[in-house]
Symmetry: C2
Subunit: 322 residues, 2 copies
């Protein structure tokens, strides 16, 4: 099967909103008047971002989800994406599964595949995603101000628990492991929350490399510091509840929640006066939100417990060249 | 050196036209009113699209050039691009060279780097490029009509000659090899010609996989056939001239010119009534153009010699999964 047949067979579908889709030299996008186009690219490499044993449908989901998560962090509405795919050989079963997971999530978000490239090579998935946002309305990393609350969506740390099980450093009961594994392999991009936070949040970023590291980008871009309540954060591990049977130690919980990575939740800031509006945005988008700290004028991130006492443990972000 | 330092050190520059550049979750692009955005992605893999020994500056040039060539084939004006890069390790000398070649070509075309991703993995370069074109003015593959002339820009086949030297199937004098090698490693995207052909050409495609194969995409998309003058095409090999000293056999010349690949020239169609306009577009963009055949109503591609007699030799496109 040749390169062009591959695209046709597995990925080509009728174009809806784009002016021109898969099959010409370029795709053509026509943003609505007054709209800016938000663009993000993520590259996923086997062994680094996913295990070779992952179900291809889950991988297709995740490859697009991590890109949609970037749109969510900007408050942009998904429009379209391109897919570039290098594969060591043509594996029809793998391709069918990958396309199924990818296109199911794309459909869920009305995000259409408009172009791309396939080639032979070590497995590598590169997606570039396009969204639209009214000019001036994008959520940036640079807007956090002293006094703002720090919020985070959903749950944190469970994806990292699954990774540690795969690495053999942790054991979980079967049911708990499946919950953690689903979080690692099929993250939920918080697109609806990002849209609902337009005009409310002052800054936002998605948690891909770990809460502490990604919040650090907001602090650096905004020229501020923060106090982060480690106890509030640690409560956000779904498997941290005694009922899960996971029986996690406090250090494991703190590390995974604060610096686990692969969460694809939104961490964002908003003035204290907007607490009700943030809660309504969470409710309207059916996304849990929790207040986990506050922005301060003094630079640096201070991680404290519920009593305000500083933690001595160090937490660092996951760095792909660390 | 960490992932974020890498981006900052080698690739981050002040943003000019984009609303927001490298360093947030998304880049923001603001197309001018009435403009459509043309988008294309290409993925380059070591050993498949380039040799491991290639000069990194030339590779940086080529990685962007092949994407700009897609914009050229649509008649789109380059605006911006994203870069996703997987590398087995951080090699500062390689990165500095790659960035230099990449950004020099980007500057030449006013095309700014607005975002991307870096990660550890087998060497893989994925660029997504954005250009603008007035709504309805893009050159598509589907517009060729019976009676149209077929034109091609520049020279054809020299890149393939260099590849055959690297493969050991051909020998060239040192000077001729350097000419061929430069064509293979530093193709010239025909952006100015593509812009000049708006409103003149009825269809266009860039020659990446070989003239015969890429022209075939135009024929298929347009529902037409063509007669291609193999002798006119073969004359377009720069190293085919006796003065080059390359002393190429006629079969080698035909194969390389008709199906060599990696040329990044434009093959396009235009009505016979537009011959003067096409020549003026070539002149205005300082790009040689040559008439090499004509579109016919009957499906299929007929390759003929200067007398009109059909050639029996078969020419096929380069297929990354062939």
């Amino acid at each position: 099967m040749g390169e062009f047949d591959l695209i046709d067979r597995y990925f080509k579908r009728p174009v809806r909103r784009a002016a021109l889709g898969v099959g010409d030299d370029c795709a053509l996008l026509a943003p609505a008047p007054g709209m800016q186009l938000a663009v993000s690219s993520d590259m996923l490499v086997e062994g680094r971002h996913f295990l070779s044993t992952v179900d291809p449908a889950r991988l297709g989901h995740k490859a697009l989800a991590v890109n949609l998560s970037d749109l969510a962090a900007c408050g942009a509405k998904p429009l379209a994406f391109t897919l570039a795919l290098a594969m060591p050989q043509v594996d029809k079963r793998w391709l069918a599964g990958f396309a199924k997971g990818l296109l199911a999530l794309a459909d869920e978000h009305g995000c259409e595949l408009v172009g791309g490239d396939t080639t032979r090579g070590p497995l590598n998935i590169c997606i570039t995603v396009f969204g639209e946002v009214p000019a001036g309305a994008a959520l940036l990393r640079s807007g956090a101000r002293a006094g703002d609350d720090i919020w985070v969506s959903g749950t944190l740390g469970d994806a990292r628990l699954a990774l540690e099980v795969f690495r053999g450093t942790l054991q979980l009961p079967a049911e708990a492991f499946e919950i953690a594994r689903a979080r690692m392999e099929q993250p939920t991009p918080r697109v609806a929350l990002g849209l609902a936070l337009r005009g409310i949040a002052t800054a936002a970023v998605d948690v891909s490399d770990g809460l502490v590291g990604d919040l650090g980008h907001v602090l650096a871009a905004s020229g501020v510091g923060a106090a982060l309540n480690a106890d509030a954060v640690t409560q956000l591990i779904a498997l941290g509840a005694p009922a899960s049977g996971a029986a996690l130690g406090v250090e494991v919980q703190r590390t995974c929640a604060l610096a686990g990575g692969d969460d694809y939740e939104l961490v964002f800031t908003a003035p204290a006066s907007a607490r009700k509006a943030v809660e309504q945005a969470g409710h309207a988008s059916a996304t849990p939100v929790a207040r986990i700290g506050c922005i301060e004028a003094a630079p640096g991130l201070r991680i404290v417990d519920a009593s305000g006492a500083p933690l001595t443990q160090r937490f660092t972000a996951f760095d792909h060249f660390g």
